[in-house]
């Protein structure tokens, strides 16, 4: 009960219990694999984007897009030309999907989805956590492996990942998978949403890395070695 927990000494003391097991090897592997593959997908995607840097049927109207006709710098593009970008993109998508499915499969099989999936019951805890960050409460609310705001962020990014894959297939096969393309509002709309997932991933990546270093650097080591030796003990 994060909200009703009695106040404890601020801020949480460093764990004295020594290292605790935090991440299964499959989680660590798919985490880093996903990172590298997403970078590869984004950079090859920017190469593909260069061929038609807007969204909408040829006559217009065009979707609102701050990057209309933007030529992204060469260092940010993978593939060298359109065919190269396409071939990278369509090669990296398979290991990325495999990594995603393995990771989600592990979450379900191990039951760890419970500490990650944001559910309506987490709303109260999320508000308390937000209060703590806004200095409206002094003590750090008790939490499990992740606090409710982390759960919200990770649940959100998994949903965005699924949307990126689905909108990607909607663009890849707009005739054979026309039902999927229609779900996204048509071919150009699917391209549009696919492109937005790029900026959500990029934003998430930046915030994620900043928070790791500012709030809990020990979590970086935990994602490499699997063992956590930081100041946010799990109350599970």
């Amino acid at each position: 009960m994060p909200g009703s927990a009695p106040p404890v000494a601020p801020p949480p003391p460093p764990s004295t219990a020594g290292a605790v097991k935090r991440h299964h090897w499959l989680v660590r592997l798919t985490h880093w694999l996903t990172f590298l593959l997403v970078v590869g997908m984004i950079t090859s995607g920017l190469q593909i984007y260069a061929a038609y840097a807007k969204f909408g049927e040829r006559d217009g109207p065009y979707y609102v897009n701050p990057f209309d006709d933007t030529a992204f710098p060469q260092w940010s593009r993978l593939g060298g030309w359109l065919a190269g970008g396409l071939n990278w993109h369509f090669a990296l998508m398979w290991p990325l999907i495999v990594a995603g499915v393995l990771y989600l499969g592990y979450l379900v099989a191990s039951g760890e989805w419970r500490s990650l999936l944001f559910r309506p019951g987490d709303l109260r805890g999320a508000i308390e956590m937000q209060k703590y960050y806004l200095r409206l409460r002094k003590d750090h609310p008790r939490q499990g492996k992740h606090n409710p705001l982390q759960k919200l962020a990770y649940t959100f990014i998994i949903v965005v990942g699924a949307l990126a894959v689905l909108s990607g297939f909607a663009i890849y096969k707009p005739t054979q998978l026309s039902w999927l393309t229609s779900v996204f509002g048509g071919f150009q709309a699917a391209r549009y949403w696919h492109f937005w997932t790029v900026w959500i991933f990029t934003g998430f990546l930046i915030v994620h890395v900043v928070l790791v270093f500012v709030v809990d650097p020990a979590s970086l080591r935990a994602m490499i070695s699997g063992r956590y030796r930081g100041r946010f003990p799990s109350h599970d």
Partner: protein, 234 residues
């Protein structure tokens, strides 16, 4: 443990991919062939799993036509026939009855017409109406030999050509188009005759046709030989 090792290999591959993004790299001599292998695998998925010989692409009302459908050719200048009246479409290869068809001959064959969305590999799309003869109607008349598995479409646009699998060519919406948007096919779009299909990317639809050849071996193509996907189904 095998899983783990396989993943470390993948990780190494994906990692290299990301880290070399900095130089607009196409994979170099070491990785490019690997990417082309995966592209062939994707072709297989597109052809054997996703493509259906019966599923039809959506048609649109003519009011949704795009005013200006972009066009291109690879020759320095727009390919034009010196003498349009002597033009014939040569149909041959693995057939019992090779044909030489004039534009008039083609217009007496079964006519099909549809308004569909064009998908360019670059990412743009546009809607147009096409009028022509189904490729399957031509195949019926020239009587294919059982060894025929592929079709090569050749043009008079500086040797531009495309190779197709037979199933895609026989799809009911694959046509040799002599008309566009209620008019004769304009020279910008491949007059007098071009290949059209809403189930493939634009670069697979050979313009300025001179011949249709049924083959046993998989023919290459202008862009396909340079690294673009061969099947290119959408």
């Amino acid at each position: 443990m095998t899983d783990r090792r396989a993943f470390l290999r993948l990780l190494a591959g994906g990692g290299t991919a990301s880290l070399v993004a900095a130089c607009g790299w196409d994979g170099g001599n070491a990785v490019r062939p690997l990417l082309l292998d995966v592209s062939r695998l994707n072709d297989w998925v597109g052809e054997k799993i996703l493509f259906s010989p019966r599923r039809l692409a959506r048609e649109y009302p003519i009011t949704e036509r795009t005013a200006r459908l972009p066009s291109y050719f690879i020759s320095r200048e727009m390919p034009l026939l010196q003498n349009p009246n002597s033009w014939r479409l040569q149909v041959g290869g693995l057939v019992r009855r090779p044909l030489a068809l004039s534009l008039d001959d083609l217009q007496t064959l079964p006519r099909t017409t549809y308004t569909v969305k064009h998908h360019c590999v670059e990412g743009w799309s546009a809607i147009a109406t096409w009028h022509g003869v189904p490729v399957s109607a031509i195949a019926e008349r020239c009587e294919l030999l059982p060894q025929a598995r592929y079709v090569r479409f050749d043009s008079f646009d500086s040797g531009y050509s495309n190779g197709w699998d037979l199933a895609s060519a026989m799809h009911p919406q694959t046509m040799l188009a002599y008309g566009m948007n209620d008019n004769p096919l304009p020279p910008t779009h491949g007059a007098p005759l071009r290949l059209y299909s809403p189930t493939k990317l634009g670069y697979k639809m050979t313009k300025y046709l001179v011949s249709v050849t049924f083959t046993a071996e998989r023919p290459g193509g202008y862009w396909e030989d340079q690294g673009y996907p061969w099947f290119a189904g959408v």
